[in-house]
């Protein structure tokens, strides 16, 4: 039996703080995927989480999912990697026009996808540089914990995900969740 929300409210219990906002599952290839008009969520949600399962074109080595905020493609991003490749753990950083999120699958093996969960804390606050934390991987290749920085205090209004190589393939899935703080 579903509990009416009114009863939950009367008991002092909220209906839950983790909401699916938007989701895109590709039915064709795509060079990027964008979640836009995110300012509409600013009054309700404190944090955002992306959950992605992706596959890219190409058959070469591991390629990353990339992220940009607000459509900004200038060299204003930095990523710090903690990476396990099946042989050794390594750490390195890089600066450029995107944040790195961890790898996707590719066409080398049928049905091969990679996955990542990305947390973006306080994305709508204008007092903070935007920092992401991404845990992801693909079993045939590597896994990573990556911190990303966008050198701007602007409120996040859009998030664009880009494959490092070729296009995102059919079946790639991108889901955006809002997490409340009240």
């Amino acid at each position: 039996m579903l509990i009416p929300l009114g009863i939950l409210a009367a008991s002092g219990v909220s209906a839950g703080s983790f909401d699916l906002l938007e989701s895109q599952v590709l039915t064709g290839t795509a060079s990027s995927v964008t979640f836009s008009s995110l300012s509409t969520y600013a009054s309700t949600y404190q944090h955002l989480q992306l959950r992605i399962v992706t596959r890219m074109g190409g058959t070469g080595g591991a390629k990353s999912n990339l992220l940009r905020f607000n459509g900004i493609s200038t060299s204003s991003y930095k990523s710090q990697f903690l990476l396990g490749n099946g042989s050794a753990v390594s750490s390195f950083s890089g600066s450029g026009t995107n944040i790195f999120l961890g790898i996707g699958g590719n066409l080398a093996t049928s049905n091969r996808f990679g996955a990542a969960v990305i947390d973006i804390l306080d994305p709508f606050e204008t007092t903070k540089i935007k920092v992401t934390r991404s845990l992801g991987g693909e079993a045939a290749s590597e896994l990573t914990l990556i911190s990303g920085l966008w050198n701007s205090t602007a409120a996040v209004s859009s998030i664009t995900l880009i494959p490092e190589t070729a296009d995102y393939q059919i079946g790639s899935r991108f889901s955006l969740y809002g997490i409340k703080a009240a």
Binding site: D19, G86, V89, V117, G136, A139
Partner: protein, 161 residues
């Protein structure tokens, strides 16, 4: 329209040892599953092993990285069960995120965080090489005769997308 999610689906709190925990009849109405395993096993050096839909074929592979308190390590392997990380006879918590479990167009990826303060901190990326939607998950402890210990709690949650 935002939709509330992170829904509890099933939970078990062991009052004795148990060699196998099975989540079954999992509805296909979510996109991801999250399992929290909190407790310990009956063995000093043991891992949680996972199988989907009773598949005992050589369809599981994984890559991992971790620290043992003095050294880092990374490895990869494959087998007839997924290796879901260290779960010894010391208090542990493991978080398993099974992504796109109900999809029929991809192999299934699971992200694992395995935490035992007395042994290892480890992360895994797992793959089950099947496009079948997951309807059951079996969890066991590696090593002959080993079990989940009394007091261990395993809880399953669904996340829509």
């Amino acid at each position: 329209m935002p939709t509330n999610t992170y829904t509890p689906l099933a939970t078990i709190s062991l009052t004795g040892t148990d060699s196998e925990i099975v989540f079954s009849n999992i509805p296909n109405t979510y996109r991801d599953l999250i399992i929290i395993a909190s407790g310990q096993s009956t063995a000093a050096n043991a891992n949680i092993l996972a199988r989907f839909n009773s598949d005992s074929g050589s369809n599981y592979s994984w890559v991992y990285m971790g620290g043992d308190g003095s050294s880092t390590f990374s490895g990869s392997s494959s087998g007839t069960s997924g290796d879901w990380g260290n779960f010894p006879n010391a208090q542990s918590v493991s978080v398993f995120q099974i992504m796109d479990y109900s999809a029929t167009d991809k192999h299934k990826t699971t992200l694992v965080r395995s935490n035992t303060a007395s042994t290892y901190a480890i992360a895994y990326a797992e793959r089950w090489a099947s496009t079948t939607a997951i309807t059951s998950i079996s969890l066991t402890i590696s090593g002959s005769g080993n079990s989940f210990a009394s007091g261990t709690i395993l809880s399953l949650y669904g996340v829509i997308a």
